[in-house]
Symmetry: C2
Subunit: 351 residues, 2 copies
């Protein structure tokens, strides 16, 4: 059976401001030394399993130029332009309809465009297991073996054992103490937001658990490849409620299983990710650019040409760009959206 | 009796890096909104009492161009170029010798170039009192009524009373608890480093308490105005030990008195001074430039065109310049010299 992929690339990457901007969010940036952007990495990692003509990108119209420039190998018609952001369920539902129209049935991988994966061979192996499991009709999620009690992720409770495991419970963003217990138990995996399923299986699940969404989007998907498609999409999509595939389908369906993975995954959800993916010095500082630290520990600094001198600071994030400088305590990195709201009235040019 | 002034302008202003640089230290910068530099302010404040031709600047050769540009009203021969930095005693001794040669006797004011004074009318009144007291042969220091228990200053113990007071004890940089007691007692003043004395009185004191220094510098001062002067100064000055007028003369002499002053004085000794001289917002943040703060208190931020966004920080100093950015905890502002030492090997271009 053919393997296809949908890459979701509509995110705004706000928590990576000021490097990530509305016009160029983090999936279109390189956060690593190699210069490859996150979305380029995401596509390249898939190529051993999926042909470029079977890889689709869902994004918003503002990013069409970036995608064409960064991913010239993809057919232009494989870029699905969402008229507005409605979270993952409508996006996946539309793509599942289009894939059924185009492929009949196929295995469909669903991947966010902006995740980092350290061990790519290991990732590919997990992906192959997921494709195999999806072939049997299961809705498969890639579950990450937790390495610390992160409170910002969703957790999956799984039946014991190695290899493919059935998912028995979802838990979103646990409190700190709960997260510690989940990690200690060994029974929970992080929900990575990466999925594999047959086109027929996800369509069946959507029809059952999201009948309204399904009924509204199927006529749109049916117009794929015709002049009507864009107009129908523009009419319907903005009327849809925001809903995630986790809440809308996965937490309700019964044929959910997880491939337990450990391939050095990071969703790069905030500036704190840099300390996980970068190399810290002996004082726990992660420094990029021309940076000198004295009496400072646990700081993350991202600069360019300009010298950045850090003195007597603990757990501070400093990000310098040509037109905006962020200085932020590490514990506040999740509050960058609050900062951006404060900036919006007077400083929309730097958002 | 004529009133003359010596302005000491050889300081390097290191603790105001990165705004203050070796090539343009803080006395040549404006730290206020009016654009007037600290040394320009210092000269202007004196003009009601001292004619420009009787104002002398002691500095190092690197700053001759800055002084000529910023103080065109001073005669070029009034700039005394120190071949190297030897602290205040040699500098004052040389000037006292020159003033005796030129004026016979006169009242001599001695002032650092880099202090800020908020209430200038009040300052002038104090200066007049000091000149009057100096006329009687006393060595007069301007003592500042302390407004908080600063541990970085020297303190003067004075006899009780209003008006001119005799100084009975010097105490340099007390510990925090001691400083609190000194301030509470009401008997101690801050030593501002601003002095008034007759040329004859300071020469007599130098001859008595610093006989070696006096003996070495008098022949140099005697050559003032001749082609020999520069060569003699260059031969002798580097051989002199570093010594301050406080340790070398004031702490030993008996005819010391203080004019108690309250004219909003600040020696602008570190970035913390900005919170004393600037206007803080309701969160205690002192912001200059294009700065937005969220969940932050007690921060001092100095920027330019670039937006600086501050999130979740307490008591942090941020100073942005075109080629160097400092981010520093407030309690570390006195350690900037340590930072500069760390920068020297690789980054001398920003010092």
């Amino acid at each position: 059976m053919k393997t296809t992929a949908l890459i979701m690339a509509g995110g705004r990457g706000e928590r990576f401001w000021p490097v990530s901007r509305e016009r160029r969010p983090k999936q279109f940036l390189s956060l690593t030394e190699d210069g490859e952007t996150l979305i380029q990495k995401t596509v390249r990692r898939l190529l051993p399993l999926v042909s470029p003509e079977d890889i689709y990108i869902a994004t918003n119209a503002a990013y069409l130029g970036l995608i064409a420039a960064q991913l010239p190998e993809l057919p232009p018609e494989n870029i699905l332009t969402e008229p507005c952001a409605r979270n993952t369920a409508p996006c996946i539902c539309l793509a599942a309809g289009i894939f059924r129209r185009k492929y009949g049935d196929a295995v469909m991988l669903v991947l966010p465009a902006d995740h980092l994966i350290r061990e790519e061979a290991c990732f590919l192996e997990s992906l192959r297991s997921a494709v195999q499991a999806a072939g049997t009709g299961k809705l498969v999620t890639l579950g990450i073996r937790p390495t610390y009690p992160e409170t910002g992720y969703g957790y999956l409770h799984c039946t014991p054992g190695e290899g493919l495991r059935d998912v028995t419970q979802f838990l979103e963003k646990p409190a700190s103490e709960t997260a510690e217990k989940l990690v200690e138990s060994g029974e929970w995996l992080w929900n990575s937001g990466m999925f594999a399923w047959r086109v027929s299986a996800i369509n069946a699940a959507l029809r059952r658990y999201q009948p309204l969404l399904y009924a509204q989007l199927m006529p749109v998907a049916g117009a794929w490849g015709t002049p009507e498609f864009s107009r129908k999409l523009a009419d319907i999509y903005p009327t849809l409620p925001d809903s995630s595939i986790d809440c809308g389908v996965m937490e309700q369906a019964e044929n959910i299983c997880a491939v337990p993975c450990r391939f050095g995954w990071d969703d790069v959800g905030s500036w704190r990710a840099i300390e996980r993916i970068g190399d810290a010095d002996r004082e726990g500082n992660c420094l990029r650019g021309d940076v000198v630290t004295v009496d400072s520990t646990g700081c993350t600094v991202s600069g360019r040409e300009k010298l950045i001198a850090v003195l007597g600071l603990q757990e501070v994030v400093i990000v310098d760009t040509p037109d905006a400088l962020l200085v932020c305590s590490k514990r506040s990195t999740q509050d960058i959206k609050k900062l951006l709201a404060a900036l919006r009235p007077q400083h929309c040019e730097v958002l």
